[in-house]
């Protein structure tokens, strides 16, 4: 009785095409936004549980937001374009290191032209966006050949990108401004004159980024471009006959996806880590994003959030719950269990519900629609 569409007639196409056509969904979204933007900062201010310490903010909410953003990016490439990406870590790294260079000033001597490219240090926001742009450019380069070859192409290309850029950011000292240790510190996070430092400030910053990009992603996905992406995924030969240009569709998917992943990388480095080395973006990170997308649901923006939450919380759960029950469990057992459970869950979901948690979620909503009637 709670979740009913009856009586909610749409009298215009605009209303029917809205992202959350059902009123209850809109209310739910409003609640989530209110909690995220208002309740969390309020509780933090008052140091009320669960914000007694800043652990929840620092170690869970901030990484959750940033990785969700990364997952949205990977989802666009994988879920909407039907290609598998094993190298998203590299694109996060490109975003992060590019943003770092823009933030600390770019000096590129070009002896053979007798001149040099010199850009003064840029403020943080343009640096992050330019970092995303760099990632998008590289993404487009990798996307160009995908027209000729399908299937496993992307897996190989992204793997090549992963290992290549791992190497680049270690060996090419220019990217790390020649620091002896190889690790770098993020520049000061000054946005429009405001300094972002404390956990709650970092949280709100990430929240804003994620909200904006989630809206943009959702808009693209349900519009003409999103349909082009899905058409290319489902049957690219027929898509061409609809007037869809395969190159345009593929390259925009790569560009948008890489841009978002690049921005996520910058945020990860600047806002979450503070100081980092290339290892932060290695193949484990790529697999982490891959799992988030598979588990959360391919082709679903909501799924990106659900998958990120799951992957992030699982190790913490496996660690804290036994401790709470008084059963000692070693770090190693926890990490091995995470492997087993994640792997088993992927297999299970692929068998039972290939569209992941997001689909389970909407099935749940369907049942809720009928509740308390069984069918």
């Amino acid at each position: 009785m709670l979740y009913r569409e009856a009586g909610q007639f749409k009298t215009s196409y605009a209303a029917d095409m809205a992202v959350f056509p059902i009123r209850q969904d809109r209310i739910a979204l409003g609640v989530v936004l209110a909690v995220a933007y208002l309740l969390v900062p309020l509780l933090d201010l008052l140091h009320v549980w669960p914000f007694g310490s800043d652990y929840l903010l620092r170690a869970i909410l901030v990484p959750f937001l940033i990785l969700s953003l990364g997952a949205i990016g990977v989802n666009i490439l994988m879920g909407y374009c039907g290609q598998i990406s094993l190298g998203s870590g590299a694109f996060m790294a490109i975003g992060a290191y590019s943003a770092y260079k823009f933030g600390t000033g770019v000096h590129l001597p070009l002896e053979w032209l007798g001149t040099a490219i010199s850009i003064p240090p840029l403020p943080v926001l343009p640096s992050i966006l330019l970092g995303g742009l760099m990632a998008a450019v590289v993404g487009i380069l990798f996307g160009i050949p995908s027209l000729r070859i399908k299937g496993l192409y992307l897996a190989v290309a992204t793997l090549a990108a992963q290992f290549f850029f791992d190497w680049v950011f270690i060996r090419v000292k220019w990217f790390t401004n020649y620091t002896p240790s190889g690790s770098v510190n993020a520049p000061e996070l000054k946005f429009f004159g405001l300094l972002v430092e404390s956990p709650i400030e970092r949280y709100l910053l990430c929240l804003v980024f994620v909200t904006v990009f989630a809206v943009i992603a959702k808009n693209l996905v349900r519009g003409n471009l999103g349909r082009q992406w899905m058409a290319m995924r489902d049957m690219d030969i027929a898509a061409e006959l609809m007037g869809i240009r395969p190159l345009y569709a593929k390259l925009t998917a790569f560009a948008v996806s890489s841009f978002i992943v690049g921005v996520a990388g910058s945020l990860w480095a600047f806002v979450y880590l503070g100081s980092w080395e290339p290892l932060a973006f290695n193949i484990d990170r790529s697999f982490q994003l891959l799992f988030m997308v598979i588990i959360g649901g391919l082709g679903s923006i909501l799924g990106s959030f659900l998958g990120a939450a799951f992957i992030l919380i699982l190790p913490i759960l496996l660690d804290q719950v036994p401790h709470a029950l008084g059963v000692p469990v070693s770090v190693e057992t926890v990490s091995l269990s995470v492997l087993i459970i994640t792997g088993a869950l992927i297999c299970y979901l692929l068998i039972v519900e290939p569209l992941g948690f997001a689909r389970l979620w909407s099935i749940g909503k369907e049942k809720l629609r009928l509740w308390p009637y069984p069918y």
């Binding site: 003409n224 899905m230 061409e240």
Partner: protein, 272 residues
């Protein structure tokens, strides 16, 4: 119909004029050692319904594939709207106004009926990526305009009840209808239908025939049709081309072709 769609002269008057929309001359196509088409020439006049018939493997689908640019013939010339070409490209075909349905339904299985048909509007949707990212404003207005056009097609094809259903879940007959809708959404000048009635029962065939005739009559869309059901061919088509082993063996009005001895030998057989 919507103001989007230009009113066209009635089909009957077009047919009388007999102007040629598409012609293929001396088209030959081979795959390795297999010769799919051998020196085939025929034309399609504006406003007519042209049937292409023949036994399996005669090269009918290959002919359609050549017309819309999936296959590139080794020899021959394709002339569409007065422009002569040695081969076509799919995108070019689409932008010039050629649309197509496929023998084994080529719908986008992961999308709903509505979304599938909306993809047909791609060429008419002009708003760039930035406008789409923001959505509210120009992009939304464009989306609504095209949604209206698509809803008219959905009404016409009587598929309102399945508009939000993922097409993968639809029965074969309805899928074929959705595919027709998708082709119609492009507002084509030439519509290529590859066995649109395959696998349908009598009632579905009657519905489909009705749709095809209405499309031809009301929108003056020229139609080329591959079909095995001779009753349908007789009823619907203005002229018929008969292919056999990649060669054209007859070309003319349905009643003429039906009596042609070569056609009877190759394909029709004698009624008994």
């Amino acid at each position: 119909m919507k103001a989007d769609v230009e009113p066209r002269p009635g089909a009957a008057s077009l047919k009388e004029a007999g102007e040629v929309l598409l012609s293929v001359e001396g088209v030959s196509l081979s795959f390795g050692g297999v010769r799919a088409l051998r020196d085939v020439s025929f034309d399609i006049r504006k406003g007519e319904i042209r049937a292409i018939i023949g036994p399996n493997g005669a090269g009918k689908t290959s002919m359609l594939n050549v017309i819309n640019g999936f296959y590139h013939p080794q020899q021959g010339v394709i002339t569409f709207k007065g422009k002569r070409r040695h081969d076509m490209r799919p995108y070019l075909a689409a932008s010039q106004g050629i649309a197509r349905t496929f023998q084994n339904v080529a719908l986008f299985k992961g999308m709903s009926t509505l979304d599938n048909i909306m993809t047909g509007r791609t060429l008419k949707m002009r708003r760039g990526i930035l406008a789409q990212a923001i959505y509210w404003g120009v992009s939304q207005r464009e989306e609504i305009r095209h949604r209206e056009a698509v809803e008219h097609i959905i009404d016409f094809l009587e598929i309102k009840h399945i508009r939000k259903t993922p097409v993968g879940k639809l029965p074969y007959g309805l899928q074929k209808r959705v595919e027709l809708g998708r082709a119609l959404a492009t507002e084509p000048d030439l519509l290529l239908l590859d066995e649109p009635m395959a696998g349908m029962n009598l009632e579905e065939k009657q519905d489909m025939s009705r749709f095809i005739l209405t499309v031809n009559d009301t929108f003056s869309t020229t139609i080329a049709l591959i079909e095995h059901d001779m009753g349908v061919v007789m009823d619907l088509s203005d002229r018929v081309v008969v292919l056999d082993y990649g060669q054209k063996i007859a070309d003319g009005r349905p009643d003429e072709v039906q009596k042609d001895q070569k056609v009877i030998d190759a394909y029709l057989g004698i009624p008994h």
